[in-house]
């Protein structure tokens, strides 16, 4: 039996207004080479100046990930030639990163698990190559430097992850926490969240690490999971056949569902890191850290604890509702207007989540505002509509954005609570279904359900179900 040992290297683009070393905008998109200036284009003679907001954001993430923040850190040059890198070196942090020794907690099938974070450092993003078709056959390539110099955080985990599921849970939790801090959109599809993995396998329970490979080019959570599952299987197969895993960098091929070798250890770059002489070391004092700490919002773990303790929600419900800041905010806005957290949780995780999923929408785009959901729930409570009718009203709210009261009025869905009116229908149904009446009297409880159903059908679901039950029983006994 083998076990996998996985560590992730995650790059997060920070959404500061300007780039890390100049004042060009970080806005995504834009005509190629319009979000640039002499500094981020690396023209002869230009110099970088650190954007303080980047450091603020980085400290915020480091605090959210329980890291120790360096009081003294510096920037280094990582030297390699690539046309998307205007200076042919990337300004990064090498041996004195901004933060180290943090952790986050993930949910696993064996309960919560703490995953260590080795380090967090700041660096500048590169540009983008635009090929004419395939990179191997393109006659020429164009370069778009809009993204060049956009601030990045590199967050490196300890090799604490033991399965593709754990790796995915880690990445999702990391995304959640960073989204809470508000420093990044963390959109994998736009490249504002990117992930590489280091993977090795070893006999289960062993201490020694196997030879690792680095997996690149995983562009979604699903790709991460698939690539890791494939790579683990591949390495186990190599070992069981008596072979040896080669230390190398491999790329995930999404279409073929395999990892393929990119370069071996011998071909690895020598980045010739050295301290960037154009930048002075960064001194971060306690006051700076404390100032940033005050900008931190309540983080998902604390929020989950509060939901469990104050709202009496289950760990599962609390985890789901805090999985994104916006979802939690939505939930709490509903609870503020309608103080029955469990009922709200059921609706948010049930009907709302179902419809959002079906329409591939995010909570932030929900057509139903928290106040509207609260109003709907109050209509149930005051008996205006039944819980069943409420679900159809909710669907209408979702598609029309109308208030629940408006829909109920326009569609005549007000619940019938008039005893006489319901009694008349009950009489009709009893007369029309002698067989069922007989069955019920003979002791078949199920027949009552059928009769209730007939009354509801005749009233198009508007009869108060409790009243229908009560009247039927009275008349039949």
């Amino acid at each position: 039996m083998y076990e996998a040992v996985i560590g992730l290297e995650v790059h997060v683009e920070l959404k500061t207004r300007s780039k890390i070393f100049c004042s060009s905008t970080t806005e995504f998109g834009g005509e190629p080479n319009t979000h640039v200036c002499p500094v981020c284009l690396g023209l002869p003679g230009v110099l970088p100046v650190v954007n303080r907001e980047v450091v603020d954001y980085a400290i915020r993430v480091a605090l959210a990930l329980n890291c120790q923040i360096a009081r003294f850190c510096k920037f280094d040059r990582k030297n390699y030639y690539y046309p998307d890198l205007p200076k042919n070196y990337q300004i990064s942090q090498y041996d004195l990163p901004l933060a180290q020794n943090g952790y986050l907690e993930i949910e696993t099938e064996n309960g919560p698990k703490r995953v260590g974070i080795t380090r967090i450092h700041m660096e500048e993003d590169a540009g983008k190559l635009v090929h004419q078709g395939n990179i191997a056959t393109t006659p020429y390539s164009l370069v778009d430097y809009n993204r060049t110099g956009v601030p990045l955080l590199e967050i490196v985990s300890e090799p604490d992850l033991r399965s593709p599921e754990e790796a995915r849970a880690y990445l999702e939790k990391l995304r959640t926490i960073i989204q809470y801090t508000g420093v990044s959109d963390c959109k994998m599809e736009e490249g504002s969240l990117r992930c590489d993995a280091n993977v090795s396998v070893r006999p289960a329970g062993g201490d020694a690490l196997g030879t690792k490979t680095e997996i690149k080019n995983m562009n979604s959570f699903r790709a991460l999971h698939r690539a890791l599952a494939y790579e683990i299987e591949r390495q186990i197969a190599v070992l069981t056949e008596g072979g040896r895993v080669v230390q190398e960098t491999r790329a995930w091929d999404e279409d073929r569902g395999v990892t393929v070798s990119m370069r071996s250890k011998e071909e690895a770059h020598d980045y010739r890191y050295f301290p960037d002489p154009d930048l002075v070391p960064l001194v971060i004092d306690e006051a700076w850290i404390e100032k940033v700490r005050t900008t931190l919002p309540e983080l998902p773990d604390a929020r989950r604890k509060r939901y469990m303790e104050d709202f009496g929600l289950s760990r599962y419900d609390a985890t789901v509702l805090t999985s994104s800041k916006e979802l939690g905010d939505y939930f709490e806005a509903c609870v503020a207007a309608y103080p029955h957290p469990k009922t709200v949780a059921n609706w948010v995780m049930g009907e709302l989540a179902r419809l959002l999923n079906a329409h591939n929408m995010d909570i932030i785009a929900s057509p139903v505002a928290p106040a509207q959901l609260a109003a709907l729930l109050r209509l149930i409570d005051d008996g205006t509509i039944s819980g069943k009718i409420a679900k159809t009203v909710f669907e209408d709210m979702f598609t029309t954005r109308k208030d629940p009261a408006t829909i109920v009025r326009e569609k005549g869905l007000v619940q019938i609570t008039d005893v006489d009116a319901i009694a008349a229908v009950v009489d009709e149904v009893i007369n029309a279904n002698p067989k069922s009446v007989q069955d019920y009297k003979a002791g078949k409880e199920k027949a009552l359900g059928f009769l209730v159903g007939q009354v509801m059908k005749a009233t198009r679901g508007k009869a108060n179900p409790a009243l229908v039950n009560k009247l039927l029983k009275e008349k039949l006994n």
């Binding site: 023209l43 002869p44 100046v49 042919n88 010739r272």
Partner: protein, 487 residues
């Protein structure tokens, strides 16, 4: 003496007294260029028409009664590694032969703010790597005192132009002596300010932790005036020193009684030309006569300065020069089969031999397995060298040394022997490693060739250097001598 042979402060007075116009000064400089530029070859790019226009604009404003700064209307030449918006900036390299910057260096903005008149861009060793201007990718510059000799380097064009009256003053850059050594060879005043005193923004980087822009002038007063214009904090340069602006002219005083001046014995040892030694000895006597206290001191790690410099400077250069790859600007090899081939051909053809030599040296020093033994060790020795200066300057107000071991050498004399060439900066490069200010001022002549003496100061003690240099100048008068120019 023509107008173009006068220092800026004298011309400035003539201008204010309405005895001459800025246009006349500019025409005098342009005429001198017409006469001798084919011999000196100090300039890579001339901008005479714009210069005249700028001079006339200054004249108009003076007629309107405007109160303009001292350097207004005075011609300046700019080393061709300082970016000038719209004016070709080549670093004397084929790889940037057609590069026209879309922005101005901070020092150019500051010169514009005092209505300076830029005459053109001066020749240099390619990317400031060299000590003779023979490494220019275009042509060598010649020394106006003797056309068979080099003007020094790398700011050889700037120094030659100032000496020959092809400009009134010039800007240079100094990474290991590139202002002071050519100033010494050409008999002009050259100052390397404290690291961080003048913004490097827009100076095409050679070795970022050593580079500094500074003035080359006809005398010490001009040096102070130019420093006034260009020094001071710049938020665009993270290594720029914050602080209030200083008026450096207030240090121009003849009285240096009680000033303590140290002579580092390591700078008067082997390899020093006898004539140069006599110049330094005489300089000591002059200063002592003026009331300064002179005593010997020691900089024990001096012997390590050259190897330390030739690890750190090339290491930084190898990274700084990586951007010249043909992708975005400058020369691009058109016959490449793929992008890596394009990089290789562009850089192989675009860079000259000395630049390539230093890129290789630096790449090696930073490579895995060699970093600790070379680059890191060099950084540590750099700290020791800096400590030597700190200790010496704790006792002395300034140090005095020769600027160069010999006067200007012949063209071709050292070009095939890099080590010999490197040794011509032996007295200047340690100062860059220590980040200190230093000034070279004409201290005498040997066989008709000027010899420079160097004063080294504490960090941001440019004022002290100006004071001692001014006192020396007043007592010797060497800065008023001009070359015969073979006319």
């Amino acid at each position: 003496m023509e107008l173009c042979d006068l220092p800026a402060h004298q011309l400035s007075k003539l201008l204010r007294d309405r005895k001459v116009s800025a246009e006349e000064i500019c025409r005098s400089v342009l005429q001198r260029i017409d006469e001798i530029e084919e011999k000196t070859r100090a300039y890579i790019t001339l901008d005479g028409e714009n210069a005249l226009e700028q001079a006339r604009r200054v004249d108009r404003r003076l007629r309107e009664g405007a109160d303009l700064p001292p350097l207004a209307g005075i011609p300046v030449a700019v080393k061709d590694n300082i970016c000038t918006k719209g004016l070709r900036t080549t670093c004397a390299s084929k790889i940037l032969a057609d590069f026209i910057p879309p922005y101005n260096a901070t020092v150019i903005e500051r010169l514009a703010a005092v209505d300076a008149v830029i005459i053109g861009k001066t020749n240099m060793d390619e990317f400031a790597m060299g000590s003779s201007t023979e490494n220019s990718g275009f042509f060598p510059t010649r020394n106006p005192w003797d056309y068979s000799r080099v003007p020094g380097g790398s700011s050889g064009g700037s120094a030659a132009a100032v000496a020959a009256g092809e400009t009134i003053y010039a800007l240079g850059s100094d990474t290991g002596g590139s202002i002071r050594q050519p100033a010494a060879f050409c008999g002009v005043v050259g100052m390397k300010p404290t690291y961080g005193a003048v913004s490097r923004y827009g100076l095409v980087a050679f070795a970022s932790s050593l580079d500094q822009i500074g003035p080359l002038t006809k005398d010490v007063t001009d040096c102070a005036l130019v420093l006034n214009a260009i020094a001071g904090y710049d938020p665009r340069d993270s290594t720029s020193a914050p602080g209030e602006k200083t008026d450096y002219t207030r240090f121009l005083k003849e009285d240096i009684r009680g000033l303590r001046i140290g002579i580092p014995r390591e700078y008067l040892g082997e390899g020093l030309d006898d004539g140069v030694r006599r110049v330094v000895e005489k300089a000591c006597a002059v200063l002592e006569d003026a009331g300064a206290e002179i005593a010997e001191t020691s900089l024990p790690h001096s012997a390590y300065a050259l190897p330390t410099y030739y690890l750190i400077a090339p290491a930084e250069a190898s990274s700084n020069l990586a951007r010249y790859d043909g992708v975005r600007y400058g020369y691009r090899a058109r016959d490449a089969k793929d992008v890596v081939d394009m990089f290789k051909k562009t850089r192989s053809r675009g860079f000259g031999a000395e630049v390539k030599r230093r890129i290789m040296l630096g790449t090696y020093a930073l490579s895995a397995g060699y970093y600790d033994a070379f680059y890191l060790k060099a950084l540590r020795v750099r700290t020791l060298i800096k400590r030597d200066f700190d200790e010496a300057l704790a006792t002395f107000d300034a140090l005095l040394s020769p600027t160069t071991p010999t006067p200007a050498f012949l063209l071709g004399e050292k070009i095939d022997d890099p080590l010999k060439m490197y040794l011509s900066d032996i007295f200047t490069l340690a100062i860059n490693l220590a980040g200190l200010p230093a000034i070279s001022i004409p201290g005498g002549f040997v066989d008709g060739l000027p010899v420079g003496v160097q004063f080294i100061g504490k960090p941001f003690a440019e004022g002290t250097l100006l004071r001692v240099a001014y006192a020396f100048e007043k007592r010797t008068g060497y800065t008023s001598r001009r070359p015969g120019l073979g006319r």
